[in-house]
Structures are given as structure tokens and as C-alpha cells.
Amino acid sequence: MLKILKYSFYDLMRSRWSYVYFFFYLILGFVLLFLNNDVNKAVITLMNIIIVLTPLIGTIFGVMYYYNSKEFTELLLAQPINRSKIFMGQYLGISISLTLSLVLGLGIPFIAYGLFKSAAIFDFGLLLVVGSFLNFIFVALSYNIALSTENRIKGFGYAILMWLFLAVIYDGIFLISLVVFNEYPLDKFSLITTMFNPIDLSRILILLKLDISALLGYTGAVFRKFFGTNTGMLLSMSILVLWVVLPVLRMNFKLRKKDF
């Protein structure tokens, strides 16, 4: 598996898109820092971008890589290697290279700006951790979609829909339901609904760390009470881990019956 990972990783590291992605974050980091002149504010703006963008890029990279390397995967399948190792290697290769683009692209400007002297280092660290999680989650989800869809146009469409649903539509439904049921106590409901969407979960996790939750009112207080504690943090982190593990398990299950 490590060998496949290594080559997938090299292959991606040499593709133009990894660099485009890396430079995008690099430029974004510098621009934000010099416009805001404040690490804390930059972290908030970055959060808004990362939370939407990393899932999108992860989804697109995952689907694209799967379909583009299909014939090569067939070549690997004819080699004496276990099937699931091939796909796990590819999956980790994509996820790690995307994560590296993110961490390096944002890390360099922030370190250059003097992150280590700033109190925002933990917030920034959390942002990177959550961004990396989102990479792993969405590459896994998109790989699942690609594995289940033979037609690449359809696969691409489903993957984008999945992203659109989790990044935009889910929030819409969530908000509508809050308005419709506003006569009922909704704190538990909203807490649980948040858990089912990795993007929302990441957003809340960061927002609450950033001490701007006072803006969120009563529900914010409930959220803060929950996520602010160590248990809440641990629980939400483990749910993010679950969001990685479950799709990966399904991938392995799907692989056992898949024809190439």
C-alpha cells in the first residue's frame, strides 16, 4: 500500500493542479494577512473560505483522479497486490497531497507574519486540522461516488451535487426547519443536525474556538456549553473521524464486489 501511496503522491505532486492549489492558498494567506493586519481576523476569513473550498477541491480531485487513473488502476489490479491496498494507497495519496498544499500554502504566510508570537496559533492550528479532516472526508466521499458510478459525467455530477448539498442546501433546509419549528425547543435538534454534516460541524467547531459565539445568542450558548468543553471537542473530533472511517469502510466493502 505504501508503494501505491508513494506513486500516487508523486504523480499528484507533479501535476499542475497541486501547485495551482498550493499557490492559491499561499497568495490567499499573504493577501488576507496584509489586508487585515490581524492574525485573528485573517483566521475567521480563512475559515469561511476553507470550509467551502476544501470540500469542493477534495471532491473534484477525488473524482477526477479516480476516473483519470482508471486504466492505470486496471494495470495495478493485474499485479499481485490486494485490491483494497491499491485504492487505499490512491486515497491516501490524494488526501495527503491536498492536505500538504493546504498546510504549506497557509502555513508559510502565517509563519512569515509571526504566527508563533501570536495567541491565534491554536485557532490557526484547529483551522488546519479541520481543513485536513475535510480533505480526507470529501476525497473519501467522492471516491465512493466514483466507485459506484461507471459513467464519469454522471459521477462528476453526483459528486458536485453531494458537495452542493452539504455546503449549501443542507444549511438551507436546516434554517427553514428552524423557522418552521421555532415554537419548539430546538437546541438539541440543531446540535444533532450539525453533527450530521461535516462542513457545519467544522464551522461550529472553529467559530466557538474563536470567541465570537456571543453573536450566536441562546443557541450559541447551548452550542458553546457543548462544544466548548473538552468532551464536546472530543466528541466532535471523533465524529469527524467517523466521517472519514465510514466512507472508507464502504469503499472497501464496495471494492469486494466491483468489476473492472
Binding site: 508503494k3 504523480d11 486504466e71 497486490i81 473492472f260
Partner: protein
């Protein structure tokens, strides 16, 4: 050496293999023929473990291959379409496959034979279709395995490369290897094959030597004899 027993494979509503039985002895060149969509590639992919049959058993050297992978160490496969990671160079790809197989290989000889020395440092994405196929052939023949499976090996090759390929196949045969070929080019079959396996409607329709086929179809020309077999499907 290879045995397929009562093999069934369906893709959705489409039945491709329907109770196929086939035994292939060790040594010699076997041409797997049949009209388009008759299940040649599916049969090969079942043997490789890429397609999982709905029913039936496949054994290689008397051991079941279903859901296993280590048996593939003793088999070389040339896929129909050669497509490699575009950002790796030819050299890196060869190193990678060598690294995966951990087996003795003679790639340099083959690289010289197919004149790939100048392409070694080029990225695979920049190679022409024929050159990719040559790389594909190098990857297939560089290991010493008892079984060699070639799926449409002649696609995109120039005449010189084709001659080299045929020589290569003959050479492997004299070493006592078993070679399975699917192709639509009858001159290749006539030149190389010891035995023909003809697939039709998901079953083996004919198995035997070229002469037997000619006799059975009452036709002196192999191309016409095969066309004769295929036309029965259209009738």
C-alpha cells in the same frame, strides 16, 4: 494449468458468460476469438480477478483464484488500452512496476528492442498511442512468468514493432510458457496460435487447432472460417 468451471457472469441484464467450461494446458499459444462483445475480455478479467464471476470456479495451477491475489505474481497481463499516470516518466513507471513485483526483470533488453531509450525520461502523458503500447509490452514481458495474457496486443503498433512482438511471443513459447491472446487480426492468429478457442453466446463454441477449424467449417481460409462461425450468430 488453467481451468474454468461453469462460469457465469452478468452485467445487469446483459449475460456475458453462461456456464463456460474451459481447460487450458500448460505450454503453447492459445488464441481466444469471438465476435465483439462475446466475452473474451470478461473471461480474461475473471482469471485476473478484476471481474468477479456470479457463479463458477477458476483454478490456476490447481488452486482457486477467486478473491486471492498472490497467484498474480506468476502471470503477466497486457491490458487492451494502455493509459498510465500522465505525470510519471517511462523510467519511473518501469521502476514502479518492478518495485511492486519484486521479481527478476529484463527490461533493458526490451527497451532496446522497441527503441524506447529516447523516451525513457519523457512523461507518459506526452507519448503517442503506439509508444504507450510499446511501454505496455515492455511492462508485460519484462518478468519471467509461466502465464502471459495479451488482450489485443497489436493495437497501434507500427510494422517493425509488430514483427518484434511476434518474435517475442514465439520466443516465450519456446521457453514452454502458456500464452493467451485475444485479437481480431487473423494473420496474427494464423502465424502464432497452436490452438483456437472460439467464444459465442457466453460459451465455448469451438476449441481446437486451426486445421480442425478449417476442416469443420469446410473452409481453407482462416479468416473466412472464423467469419463463418460468427455469421451463425447473426443467422
Amino acid at each position: 494449468m488453467i481451468e474454468f468451471k461453469n462460469l457465469h457472469k452478468r452485467f445487469g441484464k446483459l449475460t456475458v458468460l453462461e456456464g463456460l467450461d474451459l481447460a487450458i494446458k500448460k505450454g503453447g499459444i492459445f488464441a481466444i476469438l469471438g465476435p465483439n462483445g462475446s466475452g473474451k475480455t470478461t473471461l480474461i478479467k475473471c482469471l485476473l480477478g478484476m471481474v468477479i464471476p456470479n457463479k463458477g470456479e477458476i483454478t490456476y495451477k490447481n488452486e482457486s483464484v477467486l478473491r486471492k491475489w498472490s497467484y498474480r505474481n506468476d502471470l503477466n497481463y497486457l491490458p487492451q488500452i494502455a493509459n498510465f499516470p500522465p505525470n510519471l516518466t517511462v523510467f519511473e513507471l518501469i521502476q514502479m512496476v518492478k518495485n511492486l513485483r519484486q521479481k527478476k526483470s529484463n527490461e533493458q533488453e526490451l527497451i532496446n528492442l522497441f527503441g524506447l531509450n529516447d523516451s525513457l525520461q519523457k512523461k507518459l502523458g506526452n507519448l503517442s498511442g503506439g509508444t504507450k503500447q510499446k511501454v505496455n509490452i515492455v511492462l508485460t514481458f519484462m518478468f519471467d512468468s509461466e502465464l502471459i495474457i495479451l488482450d489485443e496486443p497489436t493495437t497501434g503498433l507500427d510494422p517493425i514493432a509488430l514483427i518484434h512482438l511476434k518474435e517475442l511471443i514465439q520466443k516465450e513459447k519456446t521457453k514452454g510458457k502458456t500464452i493467451l491472446i485475444t485479437t481480431h487480426i487473423m494473420s496474427v492468429v494464423e502465424e502464432l496460435a497452436n490452438e483456437i478457442v472460439f467464444l459465442l453466446d457466453g460459451k465455448i463454441y469451438f476449441k481446437g487447432s486451426i486445421d480442425e477449424l478449417k476442416k469443420q467449417t469446410d473452409n481453407d481460409n482462416l479468416e473466412h472460417a472464423i467469419a463463418n462461425l460468427i455469421s451463425k450468430q447473426y443467422a
